[in-house]
Amino acid sequence: MAERVLMKGNEAIAEAAIRAGCRHYFGYPITPQTEIAAYMAKKMPKIGGVFLQAESEIASINMVYGAAAAGMRVMTSSSSPGISLKAEGLSYIAGSDVPAFVVNVQRGGPGLGGIQPSQSDYFQATKGGGHGDYRMIVLAPASVQEMASLTIKGFNLADKYRMTSMILADGTIGQMMEPISFEDAEIETYEKPWALTGTEGKRPHNIVNSLYLQPDQLEKTNFERYERYKIVEENEPMWEEYMMEDAEICVVAFGIASRVAKNAVVAARNEGIKVGLIRPITLWPFPTKPLAAAADKVKSFISVELNMGQMIEDVRLATGCKRPVTLCNRTGGMIPSPEQVLESIRNAQKGE
């Protein structure tokens, strides 16, 4: 077994990114993800990489765009308000079909909000954020180990599908320390014949661009891009099922909310309530299959979220509204207690 080390979630992302071959980090500091930048600032110069604190979030995402166009493994990280600033760049990156890796360690919003943990950027991450028709692969770690493993996965998927993959974490998982090991790091490499690496006079120029003034041309790029998205939806959904075999109530939660929910599921089982948990690991593509299957077995669903109810809409879509879905939530930087989730489970059991 590889050696276990204690690391903060944010540091685990940074270390995993370096192991995944990322040598370019562009960012701008913001709580609660600054440890990522700090780690990169310390490590990148020692391994021949680039750490650059840009003058703004907007500058940093455009530096990512540039390095990605040159075929580099590149990343940026921020927290909620900073991701809003990066939204324009994310749209351009999508429109140009270059791979990028972006981390959002969420804090409470809207506006400048607070700095305590939140999941209220679910819509922004999974439904757009920037303008135009596009998708990002959205990965939701629930432990420090997953902060590392999903970072490596994120780089692989970004290169594989030529799109952005985003880690959607929160302040708690960013700040907490847990033991992790890097034994599973499986780095995939992909040819990038489209990259701007210099023609050496031997081939035609590559062009990276998101401007198509002819509508039929623009439509064609969108159609082609969505063909690729279809493959992602088919092949890449990830989720965890916990005590679902005989469950009559299904709790759905991701990230830190799933950790709290798991405690509540165990407590409810001790009271004899047949309840299980489905934890989406990819938020896009959303794991619709296990939820659709659960809808044929369980009486009801509970969506546990650190927001006003965002993933709940995808749960309703995935289950075709066959069963009632209720919300158990806190927001603004607050986290539901296991007792609150347990109470929701008890209410669901009573059919309320």
């Binding site: 204690l6 708690t172 950790r259």
Partner: protein, 177 residues
Amino acid sequence: MKTTQILIAGFGGQGVLFAGKFLAYKGLVQDKQVSWLPSYGPEMRGGTANCSVILSDSPVGSPIITVPDVLVAMNLPSLQKFVDSVAPGGKIFIDSTLIDAKVERADVEVFYIPATQMAKDAGFSTLANMILMGKVMKECDAVAFDGNKETLESFIPAKKAALIDMNCQALQAGYDF
């Protein structure tokens, strides 16, 4: 299967986060499942700091502690804030140099340790936190006391290695109290 949820709370600068980190590393070295969660942001900037450490034989669920088994209080506001949340049968460790108050609950075990005074007298005035950790390790069987030096060496940077012996002495002083 044993799980111990430890909440350490005090002012910023008292070494609350470091004390928690030490326990987490003890757990790591002893092959436990562990989590360490600090308070951050406005709480810390307001002067109070706390951290949640979970040591377990099975995978840790939520890293957020709402009902601690063990509370270490290094100032009065922290004691007042968390005293009622401690699990019945739980243990409370109080730096009695800094906290005058007594705990009025009968369903918890309370240890009053004049840690700040002890640290001052022993010539390591900043190590009241580690004196308290020594006592915690003695009274709770969450982690074994052996091997403190090796644990400290595993995460204290080389330039601060000179402080390791003093930390061990502080732990011992708490253990012997």
